[in-house]
């Protein structure tokens, strides 16, 4: 009974998510078309014939009324066809799936460093509660949070690439290498992604540090912590079995949203390090008025945010069974 109610609540959530995605995409479909400029604008050139612009507009179906374009889009979307990108001249799905694996790998790596690094640093700081180390880490995290990623990116490139010549300044692998050895290629990826991961991780690490640090502080003051200590339970056990699991609950809810946003692209890091991610793809699609790709990127980002939120809720329910009851009710 409880399981079927839970399944029903997830189905309801799934339906509402699909509806939200559909409305978002429909709104965006109209918005990009009524915004100034159009995809044929880039064909405005002294070297090109004005007739070509008309031909291109016609083949993009931009000469048809928006309502007609929308009906055609919805019909195709239900079969999973989001059209052909105006810039890449290939199906939108294909273009997105080309950058998605890298984006997911890059985002997950950065997220893991942020989350685990934040937690470990918070534990370390909390272990030295109100001592010098705690103060240094707390103040340092604020300073780190205030540094924009394009500044830290350029600084690390200057230090590690230009001065120390330890890491390449851009790209995800050596270009033009004929090497096919897996170990070499893996190290090459790692070599190239070290700086971008460092930069992207440093933007989120202070946030997780602060969250964990505050949660530990809050739960340390709770009655159950005093009760456990009074009963002679070891500090290690209090931390591992009670303090950390209880603190995790609210942090995971935030992490679900954060991971979804990271999946949508880390634009600045991608631009500074010339990485082929979702952020660059989406912004270029907007700047070039590539309507099918804008819709495709938005939909992908929406799906990923919904999925990461769902995953976060499942983890939270696993940690705290009371949430299952709340969800059914």
């Amino acid at each position: 009974m409880k399981r079927s109610l839970l399944a029903l609540s997830f189905i309801k959530r799934g339906v509402s998510s699909v509806l939200i995605l559909f409305l978002t995409v429909s709104f965006l479909f109209v918005l990009v078309r009524i915004a100034p400029g159009d995809p044929a604008q880039k064909y405005l050139s002294p070297n090109l014939s004005p007739q070509l612009i008309e031909k291109v507009k016609s083949s993009f179906q931009l000469d048809k009324p928006i309502a007609e374009q929308y009906i055609s889009f919805v019909k195709n979307a239900f079969t999973g066809d989001f059209g052909v990108s105006y810039k890449y001249h290939r199906p939108v799905n294909e273009v997105i799936f080309e950058v998605l694996p890298f984006t997911i790998f890059f985002s997950l790596s950065a997220f893991s460093i942020q989350f685990l690094g934040g937690a470990l640093l918070a534990l370390w700081a909390f272990h030295h509660h109100r001592k010098l180390l705690d103060r240094i880490l707390s103040r340092g995290s604020i300073i780190l949070y205030a540094v924009p990623s394009f500044v830290s990116g350029l600084f690390f490139v200057y230090l590690f690439s230009v001065q120390l010549k330890l890491f390449p300044s851009s790209g995800i692998k050596s270009i033009g290498t004929l090497e096919e050895n897996i170990l070499f290629l893996s190290l090459d990826y790692l070599h190239h992604l070290f700086l971008p991961l460092l930069v992207l991780s440093l933007t989120g690490l202070p946030v997780y540090f602060k969250y964990f640090r505050e949660q530990f502080e809050e739960h340390q003051q709770k009655l159950y912590a005093f009760y456990l200590r009074a009963n002679g339970v070891s500090e290690r056990r209090i931390y591992l079995s009670h303090l950390i699991p209880n603190s995790l609950n609210s942090i995971i809810a935030f992490a679900g949203v954060d991971l979804g946003i990271l999946f949508s692209g880390a634009l600045i890091t991608e631009v500074v390090f010339s990485l082929p991610g979702m952020g660059r793809l989406t912004v270029n699609a907007i700047l070039e008025h590539d309507y099918p790709l804008i819709i495709g990127c938005t939909l992908t980002a929406g799906i990923l945010i919904i999925l990461t939120n769902l995953l976060a809720d499942l983890i939270r329910m696993k940690i705290d069974k009371r949430l299952v009851k709340g969800l059914i009710n």
Partner: protein
């Protein structure tokens, strides 16, 4: 604790040495040149070479009938043989006969023949294909859809001789025939409407001095030498990597770090530091792009309503436009912002066309007193002493639209705003996204704007200065001048080069006097390349042009 820290340090050093080892292994041979490009290309198919980078790459992969290089001395194009050994015009230039090379093969070893040439003309002009040349075959016999009629155009005289007939009354040149030839045996199998998206448009079969090697999307395009090409020479550049680096600072860093060998469109303020390193040659590609202040010559509302030609209340008068041209200290911008990497512009005719420009014309000097007199002559005066000129009860107030991502134009616009204030003209600056600016200019929704033009080679003025707005959508200021129209029409007739140059000088004089827009300055494209590359020529045709000659 200290042991752990020491271990971590040692691990880091070990890891770094592995990384450094990786870098050494992956370093490129001397025969490889890395060119930084700001954005990825869309396709590797000459039919769709819309951007400059696509055109550059396709020129290296595909042969044309003839090739053009820049004659610095004459300030004009020079035609040389390529796929054609030789050619001969008939007496009235109504046809041309080409003698083609018989030793050229495609990269899949299929011989390149006359059929490929005829097919190329056909497919480029086919409206279904939507090639970048569609609608430009004006000298040919075409149908109502501008598609070349093969039967009326080509005569195959032998396996290597091809005669091409032009439309009666047209004045063709070899430039009309300089475009990359595409493989018939590849594209003939694909429905014409699908060529744009076919996989053959991304992994091409080529005929040029270079062959396609690899395309890592949004990362790099790699091409390698074609040892079978008649243009191939041992010891010349063997491989070119076009590396996609969207961020300007990253491009500059990689140039300084020797991760790339050539970078273009450098900022003048970065040149001194590059010069200090002594590893680079700094060159200027001159006279291809100019900034201008655009004035809507027509009343946009009335024109939009019923296409009527009514002068704009501010910018409809040539004298007012002249006064505005005198109100901007362009020398200040060239010397302080462009740091000398530019020169003042008189007209849209670039100084690189040495025989077409009128050297007697002097740029409008910065002269507020004279500007005031010209405005007064047109009835603009400050009768109410509020510091703003007025005429027929209307104050001289307007908005200048500029793109928000261009610091040079923001600087110039701010300078202009301040000097206009002294003249009694109030100008508001509106910064908008580039797409929105183009949309406004294109739909004639802006009164005044600042933008730039990249001029075509060979010289072409009709596309932007002909009065008929229906056939000349790129006449953004809606400039009207019947005398100029007649001269532009005359350029399309069969006249000598010298006569053409005389007409260009007359056109320049008219545009200089009328100032339909304020021609500001020609901006140099500053190029830096590694000294290890020899035999490189930076000409108005570009840096990458004919790079199979690089050593």
């Amino acid at each position: 604790m200290s042991i752990t820290r020491r271990n971590i340090f040692i691990y880091f050093l070990l890891l770094s040495s592995v990384f450094i080892g990786c870098k050494k292994e992956s370093s490129l041979s001397n025969a490889t040149v890395v060119v930084a490009i700001p954005s990825d290309i869309e396709r590797i198919n000459p039919l769709f070479a819309f951007s400059i980078n696509e055109a550059n790459i396709n020129e290296l992969l595909f042969l044309s009938l003839v090739k053009h290089s820049w004659d610095e001395k004459a300030g004009d194009l020079k035609t040389e043989p390529m796929l054609a050994n030789s050619w001969e015009w008939n007496t009235d230039s109504s046809s041309i006969t080409f003698d083609l090379r018989s030793d050229v093969k495609w990269s899949d070893d299929v011989p390149l023949t006359i059929d490929d040439v005829i097919f190329s003309f056909d497919v480029y002009s086919d409206p279904v294909v939507e090639s970048y040349l569609y609608g430009t075959f004006l000298c040919f016999n075409t149908d109502k859809d501008n598609h070349i009629i093969a039967e009326k155009t080509f005569e195959k005289l032998s396996e290597t001789k091809l005669k091409i007939f032009f439309a009666p009354g047209s004045s063709p040149s070899l430039f009309n025939l300089d475009f990359p030839i595409v493989p018939k045996h590849i594209f003939d199998k694909i429905p014409r409407k699908d060529i744009a998206t076919a996989k053959e448009s991304f992994t091409p079969v080529t005929s040029g001095p270079f062959m396609f090697e690899k395309w890592e999307r949004n990362q790099a395009i790699i091409i390698k030498e074609n040892p079978k090409s008649f243009l191939h020479k041992d010891g010349n550049v063997g491989r070119i990597i076009f590396k996609v680096i969207p961020d300007y600072n990253s491009r500059l860093t990689q140039l300084k770090n020797n991760e790339v060998d050539i970078a273009e469109y450098l900022k003048p303020e970065d040149v001194d530091e590059l010069k200090k390193s002594n590893s680079f040659v700094i060159a200027s590609l001159k006279g291809r792009e100019y900034d201008y202040l655009g004035w809507n010559n027509l009343d946009k509302e009335k024109h939009k309503k019923n296409k009527s030609i009514v002068p704009n209340k501010f910018f409809g008068s040539a004298k007012v436009r002249q006064a505005l041209s005198m109100a901007l200290n362009r020398n200040e911008i060239v010397s302080s912002y462009l740091r000398g990497y530019g020169e003042l512009a008189n007209s849209p005719i670039s100084p690189i066309f040495k025989n077409a420009v009128d050297e007697k014309l002097q740029p409008y000097a910065f002269d507020l007193a004279k500007a005031k007199i010209l405005l007064a002559e047109e009835g603009w005066g400050d009768k109410d002493n509020n510091g703003i000129l007025e005429k027929n009860g209307e104050e001289f107030k307007f908005t200048l639209t500029i793109s928000s991502n261009n610091p040079r134009r923001i600087f110039a616009a701010t300078l202009f705003k301040n000097t206009l204030k002294q003249l009694g003209v109030e100008m508001k600056i509106e910064q908008v996204e580039l797409g929105m600016l183009i949309d406004r200019i294109n739909n004639k929704n802006a009164d005044a704007w600042m933008a730039s033009w990249i001029i075509p080679i060979p010289l072409d003025l009709k596309f932007s200065w002909y009065s008929n707005l229906a056939t000349t959508p790129m006449n953004f200021p809606s400039y009207q001048n019947k005398e100029l129209d007649a001269l532009l029409d005359k350029l399309e007739t069969k006249i000598s080069k010298q006569q053409k140059n005389e007409i260009y000088k007359k056109i320049e004089s008219i545009l200089y006097g009328d100032q339909p827009v304020t021609f500001l300055y020609w901006i140099d494209n500053i190029v830096a390349y590694n000294k290890k590359i020899k035999n490189i020529e930076v000409t108005p045709l570009g840096t990458i042009h004919h790079c199979w000659l690089w050593r």
